[in-house]
Symmetry: C2
Amino acid sequence: MTKPAVYRNAGDLLPPPIARFVDVAESCKPELISTPEKPVGLIDAEKDEKALLGWKAVSRGSVEDMEVLKTGDSVIIDFGGHRTGYFSFDLQSYKFATHPADAPCRLRLVFGEILSDVAEEFEPYKSWMCKSWLPDEIITVDWLPQPVKIARRHAFRYVRIEVVAVSMHYGVRIENPIAHAVTSCTASVPPLSFASAGSEISDEDKTVLRRIDEVALRTLRNCMQTVYEDGPRRDMRLWIGDLRLQALANYKTFQDTLLAKRCLYLFAGTPFHEDGRLAATVYEHPQVTSGGQSIVDFTLIYAAALLDYVEFSGDKDTGKDLFSVALRQAEIAVGRTNSEWVYHVENIGGMTDFGAWHFVDWEPTLDKVTSIHCIIIFSLKSLLSLSKLLGLPVPTISTPTSSSVPITEVIEKMTASALATMYDPSLGLFVSGPKKQISWASNAWAVMAGVAPSQEVAADALRRTYQHPDTVIAMTPYLHHYLVEAFVKAGLKDLAVKHIKGYWGSMVTAGAETFWEAWNPKLPTVSPYQDFHINS
Amino acid sequence: MTKPAVYRNAGDLLPPPIARFVDVAESCKPELISTPEKPVGLIDAEKDEKALLGWKAVSRGSVEDMEVLKTGDSVIIDFGGHRTGYFSFDLQSYKFATHPADAPCRLRLVFGEILSDVAEEFEPYKSWMCKSWLPDEIITVDWLPQPVKIARRHAFRYVRIEVVAVSMHYGVRIENPIAHAVTSCTASVPPLSFASAGSEISDEDKTVLRRIDEVALRTLRNCMQTVYEDGPRRDMRLWIGDLRLQALANYKTFQDTLLAKRCLYLFAGTPFHEDGRLAATVYEHPQVTSGGQSIVDFTLIYAAALLDYVEFSGDKDTGKDLFSVALRQAEIAVGRTNSEWVYHVENIGGMTDFGAWHFVDWEPTLDKVTSIHCIIIFSLKSLLSLSKLLGLPVPTISTPTSSSVPITEVIEKMTASALATMYDPSLGLFVSGPKKQISWASNAWAVMAGVAPSQEVAADALRRTYQHPDTVIAMTPYLHHYLVEAFVKAGLKDLAVKHIKGYWGSMVTAGAETFWEAWNPKLPTVSPYQDFHINS
């Protein structure tokens, strides 16, 4: 047998981790706190045509009311809310006559963030994403009664337990079920008071916004483990794009800075390429390793994440230590501009080019040229602000035509080229690509980058894009965030609140206990991965 | 919801354990020794019409030759021989490009004692026995590479590993697979020398017998855990009938007495009924508990097991301590004889009567009256021998007609009634039931009980039964043993050796590494449980 060309260690083909940065990251690793939580009760999932995701929960009493389960029986335990953590219970046997539990008990457990997870079958599975990520387990317990603790971490509100097999001589009950919620977040945040911005918001809206805020805080807390995880149910990993948003929300809420510092150092410590390019994601387990892919826009957003961190924490040492890492990302991207100072790569939509995946959003029809171009400017402006904050001179980078150009000059050139080639004066908004595609992404990022010559032009572009019948909207909350941030930046606070209520509010209405990675209220079960059950 | 009538604790409906006996048993609990064993190599199972069980192994090289496995791939590791124990390995990921193992790895493992276990699908499963006893596991490993140890004990030669799911970015190899063999047996036994009985046996026969002896010793060693397990693959429990044969073989081979003593005390400590009746089986886990059923013939054989133990070990204290327990079993059974001193119960074939299951063998057509009647005599004779060995007076029991009858008198009466009603002089053999069924069981037990008036009559009965075209043969090695023991007792040593070669030899030919619970060489895949895969 001949072995195919494969690489044994995660580090093969990638530069080795940079020990000094990784060491700092490890020194900032937070403790995880575990909190035991009792269930609310038992439920059945029933079909409900009126529900956005098609299901409603019907109470089946308390856990103490659970019947004795035989082969083929199942039960759904509702823990209320959502947590990241572990599940334990006592597997108690009930015999029907003189026999003790005379054979092992085989169970299947399904962990549900939402009702459809535990109400629907996972087969047939249609995604290209690895099936092993589906949140189910099969266990066999040899001797009963027995305390059981599921070793793998899950993210869940519901646990469905199916009895795959018990012998004819006994049945089982799930007694003392406990969810052990884990997080590194030690702070708590009171409900929104609307103290400073209350008068113009109706009481009804306040209720909606408080509920959205509550779900947002839970999402954030449940993602705060030993890194900011993009989602605690599936890949459980740190990604630059998610890091920036989670840290930013955190500075306004839980105010943790240790985790942000750790994450910034983890990326610095695990470059994707010897040219200094950052990886899009970092693995913590079994050891700290580069994630094996780079996302152009994420490398650029690292600068903004570093700026946010230094601004909030005041930790200038970290800012200085990591400044050149952030600067290098912009330098590499600027290196891909053409003679007109327009970002240009072959096949910007492809995600298989080694180290040149452009993400922006999961929407497959999105033209990304304008977005990426503007994200470069956004990154350069973040670097400029950071250099001022750190008392550094205006940074310079090498470009295709010069070995040392001040970034102020690059910002000017790229802003001018964006206005010249990406702004459509007749439409009054930003477009992207040869087909002049109108999208939220292009306009949000143009506004974030400050490309519009005035706040009025910015606000008009956003408003027109938002209302345009042909506009390409966002699939991920990630891009929805930048639309809202752009609204705020352009002075469109009303639109920001309206959009938050409409978009995040619709997830809450659909039964979200935490916000999802992908969501389109008009296509509730659509998935960027071709199977709704693998979304998270 | 109303709960059905069920009983929470194993002890409900049964008398509590007798602490004094259980304490002695626990003081005799042996240490388990774990030995790491490396695999022989990789194999494929190929169909082979000439093989008794339909399969042959084809080498696929060494474990080091294993290809990188992707979703849907599988591999069979051959450890050679058979052991009871645990399985561990390193799950190594091999990436195809820059990505590390970016999703969990889900594996299915199937543990095979014989090739068909790993070559055939378990579905559709046809047995009434609990499906959870099938020797497979599904595990999900979150972070790779990772050392993996399967927590549950298995009995195996082969391990089939199927990759249920890995992501598109990587494959896996099973590296450093180790079988951790466990047993409480510390002794070893040299191959059969035939020193005292060599001249009349051909070299060819010696080879066959040495191979049978080797498999028998392995079976015994692998069943020697913290009790004599009836089989280490499935129920892993101690049963009286199996105990007697395993201990008897042990006295001639590994010469352990501690385990036998522990097992005798475990039964004494966990009675099935307050009248003193023994349970057929004892559970060790999660705590020492009566097995919840009683088998009449097993309760009677306890006396023989105690006699064997005292004879070999010289431990008269244990003999005296447990004598009344053994005697009580015979007394209860004698209490079921009618006025003609013939054993009589309603529905002797039924196994659902509370505490009155008559086993003898798994063969469903077997008439068991003669066997059980003779086993009572065999038990009484064991008690008589034991009382002599211990220097006790002739024991007395209460019978339906008298409160104190010497067992010598009961033996005499029951032997006479057996000869009068169960021996057919015209056929020259023992029969059973109204249809005068001829069977190995009836004649083996009549000879074991010494019912025949001479060795000649005994030998003739066995020979005729063995050759008779209508005879009901045995399904279990358990009853085959008593046929062979009866052959020896009747002076038919040649027939004993011939039968051992034919029966146990056919299991070896069929690929047995240990002897099975059930086996009919003419119907190789027949099962007392309706599904061959649940035999063990």
